[in-house]
């Protein structure tokens, strides 16, 4: 479970990139973070994973505060950033060993998981190569394998479909579903509304740092009394919020 309480973050001390966000993401659900470019999605995910420190508010993962109980909180999630930044001179197998070591994954378990996941994402043949020889998509796949190595309670992904081929994208979506069905939390940001509509149990729409909607696609449709696609609902919501700044009423 991921809990955000009144979280705000500003880079310049003037405008909040994330503005007073309160949100609960439960175990067993896939939660999609949507929003226009620069809305604050990546900042919010970086705050949740401890890459940034919030100016105000608190964030807890499975009850462990990311600032105060950082180590315990970090043990419980895996993060897949939008840009695969890894130690590119390591070989893929060395990177996976490193991840297994720092998360304390048992020897037999890690061997089995590396074997299974690397085959699933189609990188089993290149494990002995340096990561710098990999394409963007291959690096993304490697990070996905690394992220799942310690079987995290929460899986946080920033634009995970970027750079993935259709087969890997399908595998990823299936795995996200399997993870959520196993009672774990999946939180991901995306621009692809079609994916969000099909995969997510609930959505959070963020604009100019503010969370303007939290709920299911059907709840959004019910609000607008409109049966159209998520895309048109999303565009209406963002446009309404910019015009009237009344998004708070949508939040559960």
């Amino acid at each position: 479970m991921i809990e955000l309480k009144n979280v705000s973050k500003s880079y310049d001390g003037k405008k909040n990139a994330v503005d007073n966000v309160t949100l609960n993401i439960h175990g067993g659900e896939i939660f999609g973070f949507l929003g226009p470019n620069g809305a604050g999605k990546t900042t919010a995910l970086k705050l949740i994973t401890g890459l940034l420190s919030p100016d105000t508010g608190s964030i807890a993962i499975d009850g462990f505060d990311i600032e105060k109980d950082a180590i315990e909180a970090k043990r419980r999630f895996a993060f897949v950033p939008d840009n695969p930044e890894v130690f590119t001179r390591l070989k893929a197998i060395e990177y996976l060993r490193f991840i297994g070591d720092v998360y304390g994954v048992d020897g037999d378990v890690r061997k089995a998981r590396v074997d299974e996941l690397s085959k699933k994402f189609g990188i089993a043949d290149v494990l002995n190569q340096q990561i710098k020889t990999f394409s963007h998509g291959m690096q993304q796949k490697l990070i996905l394998v690394g992220a799942l190595l310690h079987d995290p309670d929460a899986w946080i992904l920033d634009e995970p479909m970027t750079g993935l081929d259709p087969a890997s994208s399908f595998t990823l979506k299936t795995m996200m579903r399997e993870y959520a069905d196993a009672g774990k939390t999946v939180l991901f940001s995306t621009h692809i509304l079609d994916v969000a509509e099909k995969v997510c149990d609930r959505l959070g729409i963020i604009d100019e740092g503010k969370l303007i909607f939290v709920g299911t696609v059907n709840e959004l449709r019910a609000h607008y009394q409109d049966d159209s696609s998520l895309e048109s609902l999303f565009l209406r919501l963002v446009s309404d919020t910019e015009n009237a700044a009344h998004g708070a009423s949508f939040i559960e």
Binding site: L51, I71, F87, R89, I93, R97, D101
Partner: protein, 577 residues
């Protein structure tokens, strides 16, 4: 030309940004997002470096000129510079060109622009040349001016000295680049950029070492008093012959030597034409092979597939500390820029010093009435037990050398910056900060310890040291090495340079590197000052002085440990990505 100038704008900005990023003006700390960093400190550091290099250059210019004037060979100084500048260009060129020219992503972003490939090639070559030229000029030009003043050169000399620097660097640069480009395009060795960069860097550094040892072996005289090897007629003749092999240097030297005659214009013209021809040749060849060469290089080699058994073995669990240390070693050894700038430099530097000193000491004439060479005298001094009365001097010398070595060893001083954007992994793994810090410091401290074990054993062997003296030397060396490693690490953590494009930026010109490699002089100065102050206050009680100096080293080491323990958690937290 218009497109060339347009292209040069971002490339020039990239060049400046790379340097200033290294100096900490673009970094990843939280506070920098609140307000733009003052450029004053960066400008101050640049000024300091320029003044320091200029000072050394001027001192060499004055010293050598005076010495050569005694033997009536002051013109030889101009030939020395005419030879030194191409050598600098060659060495710096080879070390710098590969990362700049073969930075593929930057080139790919230019290739998609509606600009002729030849313009892109010219722009990339200019981007490579400018820093090399500036550094060579910084090393040579002040001494050239100092030489002119000391040897009363005419005004034409100063006017001609400006094109001189261009003439003696452009053509060697062009020839060096042709060699690099041809190798990158046609040799199997260079198909792997990392391997090629590593090998060429090591060869270049070994060449420098060999040259300096050769110079050391040929002279025991102080270069500033007598001109050293350069005042030797045979060496002068050799240099004159060597200069002829570099026509641009030969004509440029003749241009300056004859600055008060009309023939200077003729020499200048020939030098200019030769340079233009070499640039034309470079551009013509580069136009044909550069872009194809870059796009044909690989960042690494494909490796054989792992069997299930091998994969299982390679996934054997370790502690988090060992995993981080192992990752650090792999990155240090596999990244050419990291390896050459940290490990190789650290390994080779003491060897140069040791061999140089050994040769100098063995060949030196009697240093005492007893007719011994320096090494024999030192052995005698140790054997008689007189060293016990001079422990403070031993402490200062060993402490100074250890501080200097450690200050120039940038392993810990680049521990954070080397991670670049991948620092996000360090931030989100569930490993206590203290463990990570210990792991980041381990390679630097281990390497310095290993080096000092070897140095101490070598000294003990050559000088017949008793165990007690060897231990004193080792402990003082380790304590000081440790302090400097921690200092560099702290500064790097405070001002990391994480947003770099090529690895050289992470280890060169960083604030941590500067502070640790320049701060060591201040530290050595303070320890020497303290020793002499205590000596004066205690009426030359050498035992007290020794105790105070060693205590000073230990206190500094404890202080650095305390600072690292106290501040790293907050510093770590405040690095934002």
């Amino acid at each position: 030309m218009k497109h060339f100038l347009i292209l040069m704008r971002p490339l020039w900005s990239e060049m400046l940004a790379n340097t200033s990023r290294g100096m900490g003006s673009i970094s990843s700390r939280k506070k920098n997002k609140d307000k733009p960093r003052s450029r004053a400190s960066t400008v101050l550091l640049f000024t300091f470096i320029i003044v320091m290099f200029s000072f050394y250059s001027v001192m060499i210019g004055i010293g050598l000129t005076k010495a050569l004037m005694v033997v009536g060979a002051e013109d030889l100084f101009i030939r020395i510079i005419a030879m030194a500048a191409p050598i600098f260009t060659l060495v710096i060129g080879v070390l710098q060109a590969i990362p700049i020219l073969y930075h593929e992503s930057s080139l790919e972003s230019l290739l998609v622009l509606p600009v002729k490939p030849s313009t892109i090639t010219a722009a990339k070559l200019t981007q490579t040349f400018v820093p090399i030229f500036l550094l060579t000029t910084l090393l040579c030009y002040p001494s050239l001016i100092a030489h002119g003043i000391v040897s009363h050169r005419p005004w034409g000399y100063y006017v001609q000295s400006i094109p001189f620097m261009l003439y003696v660097t452009v053509a060697p640069f062009a020839l060096t680049m042709i060699l690099v480009l041809v190798m990158m395009r046609y040799t199997k060795l260079a198909r792997n950029k990392d391997r090629f960069q590593l090998i060429t860097s090591i060869v270049m550094i070994l060449l420098i070492v060999s040259f300096s040892l050769l110079a050391n072996m040929q002279t025991n005289d102080g270069i500033f008093e007598t001109g050293g090897i350069f005042s030797d007629p045979a060496t002068g003749a050799l240099l004159n012959r060597l200069v002829k092999f570099l026509p641009t240097s030969a004509f440029s030297a003749a241009m300056l030597i004859n600055a008060d005659r009309w023939s200077t214009l003729l020499h200048s013209l020939v030098a200019c034409v030769l340079n233009v021809v070499s640039v034309w040749l470079l551009l013509a060849i580069a136009d044909k092979i550069y872009i194809r060469g870059v796009l044909g290089t690989k960042g690494g080699q494909s490796a054989k597939q792992l069997t299930a058994k091998e994969a299982a073995r390679k996934l054997t669990p370790r502690s988090a500390y060992r995993a981080i240390v192992s990752k650090e070693w792999i990155l240090l050894l596999r990244t050419p820029a990291f390896f050459t700038q940290t490990i190789f430099f650290v390994l080779i530097f003491p060897v140069i010093m040791a061999v140089g000193f050994a040769i100098g000491f063995l060949e030196s004439p009697g240093t005492s009435e007893m007719g011994m060479n320096t090494i024999e005298y030192l052995r005698f001094w140790i054997m008689t037990g007189d060293w016990r009365h001079s422990i403070w001097i031993i402490a200062l010398i060993v402490g100074g050398i250890a501080t200097f070595f450690s200050g120039t060893a940038l392993i810990s001083a680049s521990a954070i910056s080397r991670q670049g954007a991948a620092f996000n992994i360090s931030k989100r793994i569930p490993v206590p900060i203290r463990t990570q810090v210990l792991a980041w410091l381990t390679p630097g401290i281990l390497l310095m310890t290993a080096i000092w074990i070897i140095i101490t054993m070598a000294l003990a062997f050559f000088l017949d040291m008793p165990l007690s003296l060897a231990l004193i030397v080792f402990v003082i060396a380790i304590v000081n090495s440790y302090s400097m490693q921690l200092l560099g690490f702290l500064v790097d953590m405070k001002e990391p340079s994480l947003a770099w494009n090529n690895e050289l930026e992470a280890v060169k010109n960083t604030r941590a590197g500067l502070v640790s490699s320049l701060g060591d002089f201040a530290y050595i100065g303070v320890s020497i000052g303290l020793a002499f102050l205590v000596r004066k206050l205690t009426s030359q009680n050498d035992l007290v002085v020794a105790i105070v100096v060693i205590a000073f080293y230990v206190v500094v080491a404890f202080l650095m440990t305390f600072l690292v323990k106290k501040t790293t958690r907050d510093l770590f937290q405040s690095i934002e990505l």
